[in-house]
Symmetry: C2
Subunit: 698 residues, 2 copies
């Protein structure tokens, strides 16, 4: 849906303009005038009276010229029927404020929304809302909202599923002279125009440098991710979303499936697309401010200068916690610093560099000048607390000059306190520099910005997924056959499950079905010891809970005992499964379907505590090797890729191939409801699925 | 050390008063006048000139009357020698600003500090500093600091190891009319007066309602915890501490020991004492504000009212994440609410209660009036975003009235935005109500406040530790004998380690040392199968890494194979250990010594991933059952206390006894450096230490 004309109309008609200053029809008309919309603006009111100094038309039809956008400030039923008139005058762009549709969760509401959708489709209308607060484009003075604030121009665009969020944001920007709005869109019910449509428009909008989205759900996951991926190539996108929806998601049957809620999949999906998820409204605002002011760190190495030792250490703690690094200055610079300050005092040249409580503006300048030539500084944080002789405003001026010089090394002033630092903060605002009164939230925001940059860099130099061998296709027929045979069952038995995984190109532990004692000898001759015996049953999924697995079998007698014992808990004649015992760490790999984003692959730490510890990553299928690596690096699994307690490092490339194969198997066969490999035993280059479960659609 | 006279002197002499307005000696003299110290104030300056309108004395001796407090604004060496004169005039309270002591990490500095300490001891002087910013008591106008702010009176007292933190706090309170300072103390080098001394004084100070501490280290851990425990009985204490020190701590030898840094022990210790650890400077400030204004939630149930659906859900997410609960209103109240609003609109009566974007001040009043009679509401959060017709200041007035009425149910107004809500925030300040512009940080702060209350409640109704049976004493002699025999070794072998644990009252798996094949038969006859065989070696600690443990032995042949195999990796004739195999979850329990707080007991999730997952709790010994329960409830271990994957619930009382016994064993025998039970196998009521290691002091 192309929204260029929608947001840049050459003429606007507001239907339902009112004289009552509390009514939406008054507020929107006033906002449009106050925002300075300077093209053709028409008001429609049955009386034909003059409102806000403009002669109204009694009917849309009376206007007589073409109209690019109609704003409907009338109740729901009237609004829907007005679509006919709108169509008649040849307009295809509509903003509809009215509530009373699907969101009421009533029969009448649903019915009305259905009518609305039909008309919109029939007339090919791009409709914003209903049940929304409207939209703003400050560049042309379009303000089709009933907010109580007229925002200043700026480079931040906001797409919001909550009007209230918009009102809080605009109210905040109203006092921030260095920040302003390019576009604001309240999505409402998203009946026609949705978040992806707005993103597609904003990517081409030259006045938008940073996009903020507040979402409660996503209309079409695949299109959303595709659009988002495209947008983040050129513009940062920060998303705030409530996590509540996961409560409503259905319980999954597999171990891995039940461990991941929809909300975590949302995080994985947007991370893959290069967007940033804000944890809170405050962080949302901070990230948009940083992007708007182009205060983007160039890498993870931060230099910290401070006049407050203790505060500097607290800040350093937070930096390290957020996977950022503190620059260690070179020895030569360290010597220069010592020399520069030796006449006056002893500064501490660890990072943070402590200039002590009596640091003057000149001291800050001297220290920054000397350290800035260090390589690979991604940003400079300057911490100041107002002490006895602290030159607050002078230091602000020093930093402003440095900020201008160091275009590619952003400077983040943190001037703590309130009364005596206010002037400095106002100065920074005037100069378009993001400054802070507290430091705790900044490192996390900077870390997220760099994460997103890394995803962006990966998208450019990406190894193609097709470079990885997925053996699935050749066995397609066999897989289909097994799935058809079992279509009435809730899941495949373990034997069949492992077969399917093997055909999908996943290394699996060879599994034997011993139906008699005499079978056991043959198996031992072929496989040797140690062996594992497992219950052979089509019914039992969580085997360890009923002692359905006997491990560490090293002699014949033990194997025979295991056979009898397992048959006794299953059923007479069922025998047991026998498998070679693999040594290594236990992982779990699975796949499930997310209602919004489709196939999701899960990789995590296995074993008996898996559910308890919940160390699991989600990847929306398909996913690239870099995306996979990025996920692993940020999880506890990362420890296994190095020497861990004497085990060889896990071959992460092979793990990626397995995860991708599981995703591919799941994605191609819609009969499969969930896949669960638990455990996948890993030992260096050897990765083996020893237990698997394929759960089928009901 | 009694500091009553120190903070309430009847006369003060400032030595080193200066005419230069940038000098400390000028700033402190001016601060003392500006703060309004109205008792006898003397200035000492060699010239005898008049400074700041006060005639100075050439020498301390010249003053001629008794002096309760001397403030030394002179350089380090002069300051130390002045202690003699101070003694001569009979004064025993001193504030010393000078730097140049131990903190310089030079020989001269150390030497000077030694002299200082000697004199202070000899003259029985209570000395604050050196290398400090001084102290304030707003109640009597004592301001012996060189800050650039004169704080207003209030009920917050701050003890800080960083002057800069103090300056930032005072600067913040300077614009907050509803908040003020009772005492401020900059600790500096803590050579004489330390944090515990200040706490002991503040507990009796009637003007202090909330205490904030910034600490980098603690002087005497045991005294500190004891004092802190006493203070928190009547006054909340919020502590901010940097976590960096853990980097410097020595690597421990045991699994459990190496998993916990000093900083985590600090957290455990102050939690035990009922204090709250703030995660950031912002949270530190927020907690002190809430305590100062007595905005303390009475329990975990919060009611949320909002005019912004989306924001309300985000807030609810955060509330649930922080282990708080959302009140669900009763059906009758729900009906009343529906009825009250039915003429105007459809509000959503889930929690959060969404009053919709057009909520008037009267709507807020109506909704709160109707819901307040619900039982067990611990606090009410009222979220407001400035929308088209929002009655912002009117709503603030409504909340103020309700706040006064509901003395024991605090109301937390969150008025989002900036421009249009500023008036309301100023109004709340004037009324002494804590209000907020963002909501993300509030739930965590409230949750921590309730945690501390729970600890306080526990301290009152506490089951005594002596109620638990610790069998240690009877075996004291045996334990000493084993420790003496092995004193040259780095650790006890497994056999001896388990024996020690058993004598300490810990249920251990019986361990047999089989030195020949013929031994094995006897063991099997006695214990039956399944068995575990382990390497018998005095050298190897981390057995699993070298395959020193063979599990799941169920037949004789397998046991013999294990014997040969284990002997081959150890040494000829060493044999192997044999133990019954226990089924259950693997935990780890250990003890180590913390440099500040002494014996620390560690309890966590065991198994091969233990170090990777780092799910471990610390308890400073001794600890009560309630403290233990509280720790477990807030860890992932809590899942094991319920039905978990078919296992019976872990007997947490027995786990407590074991943890306490380990602590007791460690605490009584100073030859022990670390204790490590890994694993402790738990299955319902059966808890068994199957592998243990006692590491000895070098």
């Amino acid at each position: 849906m192309l929204l260029n004309r929608f947001f840049n109309p050459r003429s606007i008609a507001i239907v339902g303009v009112s004289e009552n200053p509390k009514k939406v029809g008054h507020l929107v008309a006033k906002n449009m005038i106050d925002q300075g919309y300077d093209k053709k603006l028409y008001f429609v009111h049955p009386s034909g009276a003059t409102i806000l100094g403009i002669q109204t038309y009694k009917d849309l039809n009376d206007i007589g010229t073409s109209i690019d956008l109609v704003v409907l400030a009338v109740p729901a039923k009237v609004a829907v029927s007005t679509l006919d008139s709108i169509h008649k005058v040849g307009c295809t762009n509509v903003v509809m404020f009215a509530a009373g549709f699907r969101e009421t969760k009533t029969k009448e509401g649903d019915e009305l929304e259905k009518q609305l959708l039909e008309k919109a489709k029939q007339y090919n209308i791009s409709l914003l809302g209903p049940n929304c607060i409207g939209c703003i484009n400050t560049n042309n003075g379009l303000n089709a909202t009933f907010f109580n604030t007229i925002p200043d121009r700026g480079n931040i665009s906001i797409i919001s599923q909550s009007g209230a969020l918009g009102s809080a944001m605009l109210d905040y920007y109203a006092v921030k002279t260095h920040l302003g709005i390019s576009h604001f869109v309240s999505l409402g019910n998203k009946s026609v125009i949705n978040e992806s449509d707005c993103l597609s428009y904003l990517v081409t909008d030259k006045t938008t440098n940073a996009i903020g989205m507040y979402l409660e759900d996503v209309k079409d996951g695949e299109i959303f991710i595709e659009t988002l991926s495209e947008v983040t190539k050129t513009k940062p996108v920060v998303i705030l979303k409530s996590g509540r929806t996961s409560e409503g998601s259905n319980a999954a049957m597999s171990h891995t499936g039940s461990m991941v809620g929809d909300d975590e999949v949302f995080s994985a999906a947007i991370r893959k697309a290069g967007a940033i998820r804000a944890d809170s409204f405050a962080e949302f605002q901070m990230l948009l401010t940083l992007f708007s002011l182009d205060a983007v760190p160039t890498n993870r190495n931060l230099l910290v200068l401070s006049n407050a030792g203790g505060m500097g250490v607290l800040l350093a703690d937070e930096i390290v916690k957020q996977k950022l690094q503190l620059v260690t200055v070179s020895e030569s610079t360290s010597e220069e610093l010592k020399h520069a300050f030796e006449d006056t005092k002893k500064i501490t040249i660890h990072n943070p560099i402590d200039l002590l409580g009596d640091a003057s503006a000149f001291d800050y300048k001297k220290a920054i000048d000397l350290t800035m030539k260090e390589k690979d500084i991604g940003g400079v944080i300057v911490l100041l607390t107002p002490q006895a002789n602290t030159e607050i405003i002078e230091t602000a001026h020093v930093l402003q000059k440095i900020y201008r010089l160091l275009k590619f090394k952003p400077v983040y002033p943190i001037f703590m306190g309130k009364k005596s630092v206010s002037e400095a903060h106002t100065f920074f605002e005037k100069e378009g520099i993001a400054s802070f009164r507290y430091f705790a939230a900044l490192p996390q925001a900077l870390s997220k910005m760099i994460d997103a940059q890394e995803v962006k860099a990966q998208k450019i130099s990406e190894k193609s997924i097709s470079d990885f061998s997925i053996a699935l296709s050749t066995h397609k027929y066999d897989i289909e056959a097994v799935l058809s045979e079992n279509e009435m069952k809730p899941f495949l038995n373990q034997y069949d499950s492992l077969k399917l995984l093997e055909w999908a190109g996943i290394p699996t532990g060879k599994i034997f079905h011993a139906t008699s004692i005499s079978n056991l000898q043959t198996i031992v001759e072929q496989e040797g010891f140690p062996l594992v015996a497992k219950i052979a049953s089509d019914k039992i999924t969580h085997k360890t809970e009923i002692k359905g697995v006997i491990t560490g079998i090293t002699v014949m007698e033990e194997l025979e005992n295991a056979f009898h014992s397992l048959e006794s808990v299953s059923e007479k004649g069922s025998g047991c499964y026998v498998q070679k015992e693999y040594a290594g760490h236990e992982l779990i790999v699975g796949a499930k379907k997310d209602a919004t984003f489709g196939t999701v692959v899960l990789v995590g730490i296995g074993g008996v505590y898996a559910e308890l510890l919940h160390e699991i990553m989600q990847f929306v299928y398909p996913f690239t090797y870099s995306q996979f690596i990025h996920g692993v690096k940020n999880s506890k699994l990362n420890a296994l890729t190095k020497d861990f307690r004497g085990s060889p490092p896990l071959n992460i490339c092979k793990l990626y191939e397995i995860a991708l194969s599981v995703g591919s198997l799941f994605d191609r066969h819609k009969q499969i409801a969930e896949i669960d490999i638990n455990p996948l035993i890993v030992s260096g280059d050897v990765l083996t699925a020893v237990d698997g479960r394929v759960i089928l659609q009901k």
